[in-house]
Amino acid sequence: MLDGFTTHFIDLMKTVGLNFEFLTSGYEVRMWLDGMVTTLVLVVITIPISLIFGVLFAAALTSGKKWLAVPVRAYVELTRNTPTLVQLMCGFLVLNMLISNALGGAQNNPLTPFFWVVAITGLHVAAFHAEALRGGIEAVPSTTIEAARAIGFNSLQILRYVELPLAVRSALPSIINNLVNLVKLTTVGSAIAVGEITYASIMIWTQRDNVVELMLVILLFFSLINLVVARIGFWLEKRLAVPGFGQ
């Protein structure tokens, strides 16, 4: 029945000049579907990683402690101002090689290309989250902080119960923007042979010359993911909205 549907779909597409013949090849279809799954897994893993490190970086930047703020500031500037693709190559080709050498050969190195995509894109976007949150934390009135200190909160409690909840509310639109970018950024994995959807599509279209067809699917696929991300962000904004604050 599924085969019937596939054949019907291929015929239908042919009438508008699109060639989806590859759907009849089990090997290519599997690679293509694996690519979609890999992209989804990348998205699901990198989003929380970027958020966790974004909060940590923002906490460090606003801590008032030089030994914390200065290195994180340096990292944020470096990662914001250089191309992610170059960072990925630096990580995978340079750092990874150094780690392999230190461990006595690539066979002992547990770090995969997949790890490097997650680490580089997640931490890259974390830098943008950190800047958005820093702005939100610094916008909390000093009088509100003074009240929190006077009531007996320590600086970590102030961050957790006062500064971050307020900062998240003001930074949320920027954070959602960053996450939409992060979803698209996962495609750099194709440069180091991580089998996400772009890489899988490249593998298929170099054999079949069906770039337009696969490109359409890639565009649709990412549009869908980001539609969901944006809707969740919008829902969160509504949910966190506080009457009489920031409106």
Binding site: T144, P165, V242, G244
Partner: protein
């Protein structure tokens, strides 16, 4: 001014407290004694260091020299932030601008410190908070957000929040200065109740009649010094200091007999 040795009833004592911000000398030797259960009002022109005195008492500001005692704690000898936090838990403070947490409901504003700092259970904290809301006459606003309340209502929540930690002492820092005239009365009524119940209070205020009505002691500050202190009668009626007389008369006029419940 005469200073006696702290007795068992002395809760707060400042001796020769000096504080500067850079080259700006704000406190130039403050001496102040507050007995347990007393209400002391600090009056004086803007910039005379009134609010700074309050912030020295709860360790938000650290003076360059002088002795500060709260109960048995030598505030000026506290070394770490942890020690100062332990002090602040015992002292409530209410600010001019209310400074409620805008993302928390009224009930959460009151319970967050007892829950997160003292580790009191949510049910117990909520029960206490509702009692306090009744005391400040806002029980029906428990689930409102600060942004939905008037200034006077927010300030009463701020008072309840300060009381939620069961403090030994409450500091009021010009708590009616940012309010509409018609809501000043409701806030003063709450403070009056507290003082009558015997809550030790130090008030920085411009409400002269209110200070005269509720205070056991009134001190007049000018240029970082306490120029005069005494009973309300001594300051408001019998002072021979022309500076005090003109200040008192300039703000709300000479005190006239006050009826219970009257705002200003």
């Amino acid at each position: 001014m005469s200073l006696t040795v702290p007795t068992s009833t002395t809760l707060v004592e400042l001796q020769d407290v000096h504080l500067s911000f850079g080259s700006n000398e704000v406190l130039k030797g403050i001496d102040l004694k507050v007995n347990k259960g007393d209400a002391v009002s600090i009056i004086g022109p803007s910039g005379s260091g009134k609010s700074t005195i309050l912030r020295c008492i709860n360790g938000l500001l650290i003076p360059q020299s002088g002795k500060i005692t709260v109960g048995r704690t030598r505030v000026d000898e506290l070394k770490t932030e942890t020690e100062r936090i332990a002090l602040r838990k015992r002292i409530g403070i209410v600010f001019q601008q209310f400074n409620l947490f805008p993302h928390l409901t009224v009930l959460e504003n009151i319970t967050i410190a007892p829950r997160k700092i003292l580790g009191i259970s949510e049910a117990e904290a909520n029960r206490h908070a509702r009692d306090l809301l009744e005391k400040v006459r806002l029980e029906q606003k428990a689930n409102a957000y600060p942004g939905q309340l008037s200034g006077g209502q927010q300030q009463r929540v701020a008072i309840a929040r300060a009381l939620a930690m069961r403090p030994e002492l409450v500091l009021f820092d010009e708590v009616t200065s940012a309010l509409d005239p018609e809501t000043v009365g409701e806030v003063l009524a709450v403070i009056r109740d507290l003082v009558r119940e015997g809550m030790t209070s130090i008030l920085v205020t411009h409400e002269m009649r209110f200070a005269e009505e509720i205070s056991d002691t009134v001190v007049f500050t000018e240029n970082g010094l306490i120029v005069e202190h005494g009973t309300p009668d001594e300051i408001f009626s019998k002072s021979t200091n022309p500076r005090i007389n003109s200040f008192v008369n300039g703000l709300g006029g000479r005190a006239t007999p006050l009826h219970d419940g009257e705002g200003i």
